[in-house]
């Protein structure tokens, strides 16, 4: 990130942190009231350390904003057009895609499918997008990796894996198949 973007980011971070610090200071103050009402010393209040931390954070956030302003930072990057341009850039698109794919894996695939299957789908899509567009070859890589990870961690190391466990009986044999 170039210096002016960094300073612009500093102003935005400073504003968020200032707001957060004020909120923590208010909450910390509220925490001290019941302690005093119960007759305990103010010094033992659970809000005292967070309050002090929030105070220092407030000072540093304001300093960050001032420095950002002095060194040419601005909040123009928060304008809708700038945000859209950032999202449409290659880096923006990839960042969103990677976080989106990880979120889909954690919050959708692992909740609905067995670990092995969810991991295969995740690896397949990820490797297909970021390595090779050869569907069968990538499929083999994803399959081997997901089976290896499931077997080595889930079976050999006995580490409980997230995801649903599928159990079904093989027709005609009565054998129970379990997919972790």
């Amino acid at each position: 990130m170039d210096k002016s973007s960094l300073r612009s980011g500093d102003i935005a971070t400073g504003i968020v942190l200032t707001a957060g610090s004020v909120a923590v200071m208010v909450s910390s103050y509220k925490m001290t009231l019941p302690v005093i009402a119960q007759g305990h010393a103010l010094s033992s209040s659970p809000g005292i350390v967070p309050g002090i931390l929030a105070f220092f954070m407030l000072v540093m956030s304001i300093s960050l904003i001032c420095r950002g302003r002095c060194e040419g930072g601005s909040l123009r990057f928060l304008l809708p057009a700038s945000i859209l341009a950032g999202i449409r850039s290659v880096e923006g698109k990839n960042t969103l895609f990677i976080f989106g794919l990880i979120a889909f894996y954690i919050f959708a695939l692992l909740r609905a499918l067995p670990y092995c299957v969810a991991t295969f789908i995740f690896l397949y899509v990820f490797i297909l997008v970021y390595y090779e567009k050869r569907f069968f070859y990538v499929g083999m890589i994803a399959l081997v990796c997901s089976l290896f990870i499931t077997y080595s961690f889930g079976v050999l190391a006995e580490i409980p894996l997230p995801g649903k466990t599928l159990r079904f009986i093989l027709p005609g044999t009565g054998m129970t198949i379990t997919i972790p």
Binding site: H40, S43, G47, I48, S63, I102, L123
Partner: protein, 507 residues
């Protein structure tokens, strides 16, 4: 001293007759070297991942794996630095300056041999410092009261913030404060009051450390590696055969090795500072002190030896405050502290009372890891060229999958995955704006210590702050804290004044 040596010998003997421990150490050393060698994977990330994955293992075996990965990864970074000119870990960045030019001169095998030898010597000397200095500091720390512990923790977070900040020192301190604030979430120790948990049951016990650590260290690396789109295979320099023995080079540079060890141990012992700073300072010192200093950067052995000795000696250095004061000396040591706490070991001044053999155990593990590192390094030196050709597009999704297992395996709680994901997003955003994850994690670990010791001190002194400036060790810490905070301002002002005087006098 003699008892300590006997206990160390006993622990080392026990390890040697345990085939499982040896096998795990070999496997984890290989894994560590791979983690260190592969660009994008760091020692800290490797230990964070393995902490989650080894949770169900016994304490000894879990620590065997973690120490193997730690020592292996710090060394492994030099391989990619030499062969790819891309440091595998931040601590190997200085090694690339002379290691890669050596490889381009056709001396890749020699450069790898020299860095391996330097790493093993550095780690070994660091272990000696660990074994001799830790008991002394532990004895001193037995006199610490709440005031000293409070100031020590504040000093740790501040110095880590100052040195690890890539942009402005204030950003390092803000990161430290953020970590400390995160540590305030949940039920506090003294009145059992729930703080900042927003009514969420899952946050009542605080932010889970391991998922947060994995999120902060692993996710930003995954995104940074792939955000510019698919990456091809990086050009790797092929290794030839070693033509001559390089022991004379090592013998000639004994003084340099000892100096770099001193720097490495000292920097490693500073809370949260770490192996990368140790490597850079050792390199800088070597450049100034060696006769061929002007040739540094063109491919000289001294330029590869100094940073490798420095960053590996920092491992022993980082373990000194970790074991004696419960304040980690480097980011990987911070993660290791989390792992120790998970396995029920509470480092600090009481360690010698609660776990009398633990320092000897860890020292023996480190020595075993160092010996095995030498052999693993020899075995992996040739095939590493093939491993380094693994594209990031395959490696990073696997890291993501392992991160998720590591974060989940600890509590089998899906909320931990939410923490992992949120920490990953925040970690990436902060990383982009020049904030380092190390002070956040150090703040998260030491926040509880800061809170409880500050309040305990106030309760004992009837609300007075006098213990902070009336005890000698506290005064030392206060001076150090003021130096960290005001030092940059004073030097800037003085620098400006000197410049003005020079301009006025026409010099």
């Amino acid at each position: 001293m003699f008892e300590g040596l006997m206990e160390f010998s006993r622990q080392f003997g026990l390890l040697l007759i345990d085939p499982m421990a040896i096998a795990l150490m070999i496997a984890s050393s290989f894994l560590g070297i791979l983690i260190g060698a592969l660009p994008g994977l760091t020692a800290t990330m490797g230990i964070a991942l393995m902490t989650g994955l080894t949770y169900s293992a016994s304490k000894v075996y879990a620590l065997t794996i973690l120490m193997g990965v730690y020592i292996g990864a710090i060394y492994g970074g030099s391989m990619s630095a030499i062969l790819l000119n891309v440091p595998g870990t931040p601590s190997a960045a200085a090694t690339a300056l002379d290691g890669h030019p050596l490889a381009r001169k056709g001396l890749a095998a020699e450069a790898i041999w020299v860095t391996r030898t330097a790493s093993v010597i550095g780690t070994f000397l660091g272990i000696i410092c660990l074994a001799t200095i830790t008991p002394l500091i532990t004895k001193l720390a037995l006199n610490f009261t709440s005031a000293e512990f409070f100031l020590l923790a504040v000093f740790g977070v501040l110095i880590c913030g100052s040195i690890s900040a890539r942009d402005l020192p204030i950003k390092g301190w803000i990161a430290g404060l953020l970590g400390m604030f995160m540590a305030m979430i949940g039920i506090e120790d003294i009145h059992a009051t729930e703080r900042f948990s927003l009514g969420m049951m899952e946050l009542a016990t605080g932010i889970p450390l391991i998922p947060a650590m994995i999120g902060f260290f692993a996710f930003p690396q995954i995104v940074k590696a792939l955000r510019r789109g698919p990456t091809g295979v990086m050009p790797v320099i092929e290794q030839g055969e070693m033509k001559t023995s390089l022991w004379p080079v090592i013998r000639k540079n004994i003084a340099l090795i000892l100096r770099s060890t001193g720097i490495g141990v000292f920097i490693g012992a500073l809370p949260g500072v770490g192996e990368d700073v140790a490597a850079w300072l050792s390199y800088d010192n070597a450049k100034r002190s060696c006769k061929n200093g002007k040739d540094f950067g063109t491919g000289v052995y001294e330029g590869a030896i100094a940073p490798e000795v420095g960053n590996n000696a920092a491992i022993g250095g980082a373990m000194i405050p970790l074991l004696s004061l419960a304040v980690p000396g480097s980011p990987p040591a911070a993660v290791l502290l989390g792992a120790l706490l998970l396995h029920g070991i509470r480092p600090g001044p009481m360690l010698t009372q609660e776990f009398p053999t633990f320092t000897a155990e860890i020292t023996a593990l480190m020595l075993l890891a160092t010996i095995i590192l030498w052999f693993c390094g020899v075995v992996i030196a040739k095939p590493i060229t093939k491993v380094l050709r693994i594209p990031q597009g395959i490696l990073m999704p696997i890291v993501a999958v392992l991160s998720i297992i590591g974060a989940y395996a600890l509590n089998l709680n899906t909320f931990d995955l939410v923490v992992l994901f949120v920490a990953g997003i925040i970690g990436y955003a902060l990383d982009e704006m020049g904030y380092s994850a190390a002070p956040i994690i150090l703040g998260l670990i030491l926040g509880g210590m800061i809170d409880s010791n500050f309040r305990r001190m106030l309760m004992i002194s009837d609300g007075s702050l006098s213990p902070l400036y009336s005890r000698p060790i506290c005064i030392v810490f206060l001076v150090l804290i003021l130096w960290i905070v005001l030092g940059p301002l004073i030097s800037k002002k003085l620098g400006g004044k000197f410049k003005q005087i020079a301009e006025n006098t026409g010099e």
